[in-house]
Amino acid sequence: MAVRIVFLGPLRDLAGEDVREAPAPLDWAGLLEAVGDDVAGQLQHERVHIACAGRVLTDKTALRAQDGEEVALLPPVSGG
């Protein structure tokens, strides 16, 4: 198995796909490498969050995604 990386909102356009797989385990450095330069640049912004296994990380650089887990890349929201 692997880690599923899910691109949301404008990051989906930037990545050119909805979902990408990366080998597990996946940490912050591995994530930056797996998503490509454009998305990696966006991930540096404070207002871009990361969720792992359904939980938003307080410190995204502390990412440790295991086999079968989903990592969601969350750009700034705009609901309502």
Binding site: G9, P10, A72, V77, S78, G79, G80
Partner: protein, 153 residues
């Protein structure tokens, strides 16, 4: 009545508000806000996306927070996802309370959070081009009024 839902299809806000009013006979009033896709704004369509594992749990947590913060007899939070046409309702928040300021403030509070602290992404179709919408600075300022501990629910 405590109804929090993500909706995939168009809905009738006033029917939901009436339902809330009918099931809260001891409340003195019902406040509501309905946001819709503007017409005549050169927007041909709006698309709302979300992230399943976070969005509905976040809306439920928002509803719980509003119920703790304000004295409510009932609360409805409805939010569309998917493709919407001009005139379509996007969001409906309605609160029933014994005192009107609780109802009005609960609606204000939930709207501020849905606008810039809930997991939705919105893009507009203008002249055949899709454009992503970011929250306005005003929306962040509105949210800051409530001095929330967490950045996002």
């Amino acid at each position: 009545m405590f109804d929090v839902h993500l909706l995939h299809e168009s809905f009738a806000p006033s029917a939901a508000i009436d339902r809330l009013s009918n099931v809260t006979p001891s409340a003195g009033g019902v406040a509501s806000f309905v946001g819709k896709v503007r017409n005549g704004d050169e927007v041909e369509a709006l698309e709302l996306s979300h992230y399943e594992p976070l969005t509905e749990p976040g809306m439920l947590a928002l509803g719980d927070a509003a119920r703790v913060r304000f004295d409510l007899a009932g609360l409805i939070i409805l939010h569309r996802i998917g493709r919407l046409e001009p005139g379509d309702p996007i969001v409906c928040v309605a609160a029933a309370a014994r005192h009107r300021r609780d109802a009005l403030q609960a609606v204000d509070y939930c709207m501020d959070h849905l606008k810039s602290a809930a997991w939705f992404w919105k893009r507009e179709l203008r002249s055949g081009e899709w454009q992503w919408i970011e929250p306005r600075d005003e929306d962040h300022a509105d949210l800051a009024r409530w001095a929330v501990e967490k950045a996002t629910v």
